[in-house]
Symmetry: C2
Subunit: 149 residues, 2 copies
């Protein structure tokens, strides 16, 4: 499991408050910000997997404010130094970091806690099915056993 | 409780999926989008109140993907048709709408469910304490009894 070129993992602040915490997500001036196209939540049941999906244009900026989600990334960019490499990480409020995924990188994610598992993605362009590719979980390109069990 | 000038309440889609739902928040081309300055979560304990706060520049775009939050707005803009009027609403995944609050409108909000109550705000400018005014819950300008009980 290497580090995929262009993937960024950035610590994000949680400001504690007795009435309820503030959890940062993304600011305009941060280096991983790549434009605002759309913000949406995706939830994933415990042990369910969503993916594989690859965007051709969208940069993803993801935080997990609720639950725990395991992400696996696979570099499908032929010109990249990390071509064919994989990277795995688990995000939650307890490991509150932002995952920035450049175009051309395949991603799948799995719910890891029994309650609600929820991510926020701030995509650099609005949702457009024409700029995304999908592969079934079991395929000939990406062999990642933990997701198939 | 009237409708405050410039406040928008926009239904937002939830796309149901057995692996986990997708919940829209905000798109670039929607009329209530006013620029991307910063996205952050604010959580509020059951029966706790955050507010009053008024922004001088920031437009707020708020959704509540988890729990239930009661919002009260008060129009403090002397030139507004709804000057001194109040507006109240309760948002949750079951009443999944986006609340757009223009500058100059005071807001307070209260957690209404016993679990996690969480809002996402997509602010039109980054957080800047110099452009926000605060008032204690009990004050001479805004008299809203339910928040004081």
């Amino acid at each position: 499991m290497g580090l995929i070129e262009g993937v960024q993992i950035t610590p994000v602040k949680i400001i504690e408050n007795p009435s309820g915490n503030i959890m940062h997500a993304l600011k305009q001036h941060e280096s991983s910000f790549a434009g605002f196209g759309e913000a949406y939540f995706s939830t994933v049941q415990c042990d369910s997997v969503k993916g594989w999906k690859k965007h051709r244009e969208m940069v993803l900026n993801i935080v997990v404010p609720v639950g725990c989600i395991q992400f696996v990334l696979f570099d499908g960019r032929t010109g990249s130094k990390s071509y064919m490499q994989m990277q795995e990480l688990q995000l939650s409020p307890g490991n509150y970091q932002r995952l920035t995924v450049p175009p051309g990188v395949w991603m799948a994610f799995k719910g890891r806690s029994k309650g609600l598992n929820m991510l926020l993605n701030i995509g650099s362009i609005p949702h457009d099915p024409a700029e995304a590719d999908n592969l079934p979980l079991k395929n000939d390109l990406i062999n990642y056993q933990p997701f198939l069990i």
